[in-house]
């Protein structure tokens, strides 16, 4: 017999009692919620990320937002969008006044777990594509307690024409470790979300590393060609899911 659960990780075909979910399902849900809550408060281990970067020959720089800790971060998104004083100075000291084509910023966001599990794996596939296409790139930036928009300030200070932010997405019940990728052309403080493109759900059971890297590179290339990102930039056929639904097969 066909089982709905074979086709999606969504909670379909749940056992129930009357209209209510059966005890087994309710307990599984509560366990997943507890795990997602833990992911929100899991701290990013920047030092170990830097060691992993160094092992790959990737220079990196550790930065911090103005949100001093997680509770401040949750209450004050504005602080998560700005670098603290020390980080701004560090960037100014490191910044190449000639600028660069691309700055890649890795941010803990709401799931440092996602960053630890997936960010470098995506970059392993992505960086060679940028290198082959002749993009100049700033060193890798690692940011604690950051939001997406912190990439705007960083990209601006580095005079990058495009910024790619890899950030831990809000943990879901079935996905405490989902990574998102945001592209912003001509980054500067004040850019709106309508001026970005996003590829989300990068994780083992979601969008795979290869496809994620290819789609990020395709979007970045198109952004460079058209000199923009945002709602005017649409993903092409590459974004189409692989399986053709059977309901469309028959007339």
């Amino acid at each position: 017999m066909t089982n709905l659960r074979d086709f999606t990780m969504a909670r379909v075909g749940l056992e129930r009692s009357g209209a209510a979910l059966a005890t087994r399902e309710v307990l599984a849900f509560r366990m997943a919620h507890a795990m997602a809550r833990d992911a929100v408060h899991y701290p990013m281990d920047t030092a170990s990320l830097q060691v992993e970067c160094a092992a790959r020959g990737l220079p990196s720089l550790a930065l911090h937002s103005m949100a001093v800790d997680r509770l401040t971060y949750l209450r004050r998104p504005d602080l998560g969008r700005k670098l603290d004083e020390w980080s701004r100075e560090a960037l100014r000291a490191h910044g190449d006044s000639a600028g660069c084509d691309l700055a890649i910023v890795v941010v803990d966001g709401l799931s440092a777990l996602a960053v630890h599990r997936h960010a470098l794996a995506v970059l392993d596939l992505l960086l060679p594509q940028f290198a082959n296409a002749g993009w100049s790139r700033a060193e890798l930036l690692l940011v604690e307690q950051g939001r997406v928009a912190i990439g705007d300030e960083i990209g601006n200070l580095l005079r990058a024409t495009l910024v790619l932010v890899l950030i831990g997405e809000r943990p879901g019940l079935s996905s405490p470790d989902s990574l998102g990728a945001y592209l912003t052309w001509n980054p500067a403080p004040g850019r709106t979300d309508a001026e970005r493109n996003c590829i989300s759900n990068i994780r083992t059971d979601g969008l795979g590393y290869r496809e994620a890297a290819d789609r990020i590179f395709a979007l970045a290339s198109e952004a460079r060609r058209r000199q923009l990102t945002g709602v005017a930039l649409k993903e092409g056929r590459a974004a189409l899911p692989g399986t053709q639904p059977k309901v469309l097969d028959t007339p």
Partner: protein, 399 residues
Amino acid sequence: MALADVPLADFLSEPLIPYEQDEVTRLIFDTHDAEAFAPIRHLTVGDFRNWLLDSRTSGGVLASLAPGLSPEMAAAVSKLMGLQDLIAVASRIRVVTRFRTTVGLAGRLSARLQPNHPTDDPQGILAAVIDGLSLGSGDAVVGINPAADSVAGVELLLRMLDRLRTRFRIPFQSCVLAHVTTQMEALRRGAPVDLVFQSIAGTEAANASFGVNLALLGEAWHVARELRRGTVGDNVMYFETGQGSALSAGAHHGVDQQTCEARAYAVARQFRPMLVNTVVGFIGPEYLYDGKQIIRAGLEDHFCGKLLGLPMGCDVCYTNHAESDQDDMDALLTLLGNAGVNYVMGVPGADDVMLNYQSTSFHDALYLRALLGLRPAPEFEEWLAGAERELPGMMALLT
């Protein structure tokens, strides 16, 4: 001066956001109906609360008042109202809309079937649609939030839903909740677009951060209506809102998030939408910190929307970084059912595996219908009576 002492008429002479700077303010002022406002023009905000709670203020009276109310008046009075006031007044107002189903009738509760999938896999989405239909969800809309904002992807998903609908003769309307420009491009390419969706907010600048403005929404409304795909009505727009969107875009002009939210309803009502819902706990704890705040906001939004004449539903939801859990959702769901909410969400197991938040489930909608003796939209209810026969055929599409 205390809020309760402010004359309602003041809101018509003192715009909170300058008329010259904001097209939403211009819309509010230019469409204000002075005749409809006349019965309450002499009242203060505090008097207005008394007037609303008076048992002589019937649903019919409230319906004819709507064009005379500005969103700022609705927001102001809601701030003086407790939860029971918000429920008591809203429950008198019915706002009925139609496309292939009729949503919002007395004694009815509809559900949006939300079958999202992290990579938009059509078979995965179809599995969730079948599960939801078999549990009685989908009479508000079958609405997919796509992970990728691509025209081809939107087109594929719309064609899939359309084929399922026609093959099994299911009276539902479908929607793929991409950016409005993506949906319009799909529509131009011939995709079967039923409802056109867009997230909206209460200021011009916040809408700009979503990449929309009133003219663009007007164009979408026009082209979607021209398709004439509805069978029982022509309400073609679907809007989502939520407190905090203007603030999060730095586009609130110093106005509080709940008033900004009510202003989004002024945008919505311009386009006679089929569905409007606040996604009340979605944006996160920086706007609504915990379960108590989410519950209050859900009832405020439902009340303000209904008072302004909108077919309000609610995405009763929270994120994992908010101080909230499923008990808060049970409470808000039950309160909204009593307040007469038009529809709630039906998400598999209440866990949206693409958007990463918890909403209400197919089972939650069934609970609320059973508890309050509510039924699905009549057209859909008729189909549901024979739906069991169709299940094997639908399941066969998966293998």
